[in-house]
């Protein structure tokens, strides 16, 4: 499996418009064995916006998210139908080079998962996958990504200490920095701050708002305040169905579906 390194140049050639669509999901169904986790989801995800996926546990939102960069491929019994159009390709196609895809569509997980290496190497390491080895270039990207993830000031004097010496919130921002270093187009965040304390949580939210100028962000969250604070659009998942998808304001103030209203007002879930 060869991985092309031409993605950054390709990216520049795409014109930036205000309300572009980055991902066009249509009739997406995902199965785990015979269990259907996502049912005929159809909606567009905006470019350079934050899209929040909310819903009770087990509603399929994480499964949906993981299908966008084909992480579900790692689960042998998972299969999907329908399509997710990214530019001019269907991501779910068999002929997609998932390694190249994951460089363009990065993902950060619920539990911080830094590699058992130094802070510096956690990022440098990701660049090696990419073929970037030159020390000077690596140094620059490490600094740039750590600055973008608002971690630079906290770690600049101890870049070569173990990533495990960081707090949970710092580790998560390191994982975000690591993903940013790949210069992805889309950033998938799977409950990135649910395992963190409120202060770290606030930092991550602040970070997400800053990042959306450069990246299209899809975030799964259990925290509805978080969804309302940071997202432009919100999709409400329930039992695998996308019950409602609209501007976040609308979802939280004037939802069109009774189920959505019940959920956001805390009547179930």
């Amino acid at each position: 499996m060869k991985t092309p390194i031409a993605t950054s140049e390709q990216k520049q050639s795409i014109p930036k418009k205000e309300t572009d669509t980055i991902l066009k999901v249509s009739n997406l169904s995902i199965f785990y064995g015979s269990n259907q986790a996502v049912k005929h989801a159809t909606f567009d995800i905006d470019k350079n916006k934050v899209t929040a996926l909310i819903g009770p546990s087990g509603c399929g939102k994480s499964t949906f998210l993981r299908s966008i960069n084909r992480m579900n491929d790692l689960i042998p019994i998972a299969r999907s139908e329908g399509e997710i159009m990214y530019e001019d390709v269907n991501i779910l196609n068999k002929n997609i080079n998932v390694v190249a895809l994951r460089k363009e569509i990065g993902m950060v997980f619920q539990k911080p998962n830094p590699f058992p290496k130094s802070i510096y190497n956690n990022i440098a390491h990701a660049l090696k996958f990419y073929g970037i080895q030159k020390k000077k270039v690596v140094d620059e990207i490490v600094e740039e990504s750590l600055k973008k993830s608002a971690l630079w000031d906290e770690v600049k004097d101890r870049l070569h200490e173990s990533a495990f010496s960081l707090s949970g919130g710092q580790q998560q921002r390191l994982c975000i920095a690591r993903t940013l270093a790949m210069k992805p187009n889309v950033l998938l965040l799977d409950e990135p701050s649910s395992a963190l304390d409120p202060i770290s949580n606030a930092k991550i939210e602040e970070l997400i708002l800053q990042l959306k100028d450069e990246f299209s962000i899809v975030i799964v969250t259990h925290n509805m305040q978080q969804a309302s604070r940071i997202s432009d659009k919100t999709a409400f998942f329930l039992n695998g169905d996308v019950v409602e998808y609209d501007r976040t304001e609308t979802i939280f103030t004037n939802p069109s579906q009774q189920k959505t209203e019940d959920y956001i007002s805390g009547r179930f879930g």
Binding site: N69, V99, N113, P114, F164
Partner: protein
């Protein structure tokens, strides 16, 4: 329970009266097991130490000569020589060489089982490993003797009995040890480490080489050291193929001997309490000490496992 008028003191304060018999019996059985085990270990160690030191303390064999001299001729009437260095060298050489062969294969097989083909890889390799463990060492030696030794004799110069033959037999023998522990080490790596790497666009091979193997390295080293400890202590199979010569081998096609093979070969021919017999005990003591070093290395590696 039926007598509700007893005071709290009677019901709750510890006394010998209400200690149930089963409780005491259970405790005694497990304590006894522990004591037996500790006693056996201590007794063997003490016995081996006293016997092993006798050659030096009673018979006046020089420890320096024993450890460094290459001259082994204990039966010489006038001037017996007790240089055990060739055997120490042989033991270490055969151990290191077999680890050199078995470690990459064992770890490779472990990676195959955990990362490449977890479903059917494990299904096939697991019974293979169990089978390898179950084959008695005398059978390994016998196969080595009838297949390997003639093969080496025909392919290269020499008599076939060689360091190489011992190395090959031993590497097959320690393969299951290394594979099993390495598989456990790879299998217990957190799943999110894998996901983190794949999500960054790493290929499977990059994930294995740059993330998983480094993360599992302390455990993988433990696997290798445990394999080496097994190789170091193995006597029978090695003795059958290594040739048991007294000189330091000049190539891997040369005959050689190990501490264990010399002990098993000569134990029956020496009289208890004789100098030669005592020097065999000294070799046993060296085996014990080096095994202990292996254990220390494993302990050290395990303690480094948390990064």
């Amino acid at each position: 329970m039926e007598n509700t008028t007893t005071s709290a003191r009677e019901r709750l304060v510890k006394s010998n009266k209400n200690k149930s018999n089963g409780e005491l019996r259970g405790k005694m059985i497990v304590t006894l097991s522990a004591i037996i085990m500790i006693t056996a270990t201590v007794a063997i160690t003490v016995f081996l130490a006293t016997k092993g030191l006798q050659a030096f303390l009673v018979n006046g064999v020089s420890p320096i000569e024993f450890l460094t001299s290459t001259d082994w001729n204990p039966t010489d009437e006038g001037n017996p020589k007790f240089g055990a260095f060739p055997f120490i060298y042989g033991s270490l050489a055969v151990t290191l060489l077999s680890a050199l062969i078995a470690a990459p294969i064992g770890i490779g097989a472990a990676i195959f089982m955990t990362e490449i083909a977890p479903a059917w890889g494990r299904k096939i390799l697991q019974p293979v490993i169990e089978l390898l463990v179950g084959i008695p060492s005398v059978v390994y030696g016998f196969i080595g003797l009838t297949v390997l030794v003639p093969f080496i004799r025909n392919q290269f110069d020499g008599i076939g009995y060689s360091l190489l033959a011992g190395t090959i037999v031993l590497s097959v023998m320690i393969l299951p040890t290394i594979t099993t522990i390495a598989t456990d080490a790879m299998g217990t790596l957190p799943r999110n480490l894998r996901e983190g790497s794949y999500a960054l666009g790493a290929t499977r091979w990059q994930t294995i080489r740059k993330v998983l193997v480094p993360a599992a390295l302390p455990s993988l080293l433990t696997a290798i050291v445990l394999g080496m400890a097994r190789a170091f202590g193995e006597a029978l199979a090695v003795q059958m193929v290594i040739g048991n010569s007294r000189a330091i081998p000049s190539s891997i096609l040369d005959t050689s001997a190990t501490l264990t093979s010399i002990i098993t070969l000569n134990m029956g021919y020496t009289t208890y309490g004789s100098v030669e017999n005592n020097t065999l005990w000294s070799m046993g003591l060296i085996l014990l000490i080096i095994s202990f070093v292996f254990i220390l290395i494993i302990r050290y590696l395990s303690s480094r496992r948390r990064i």
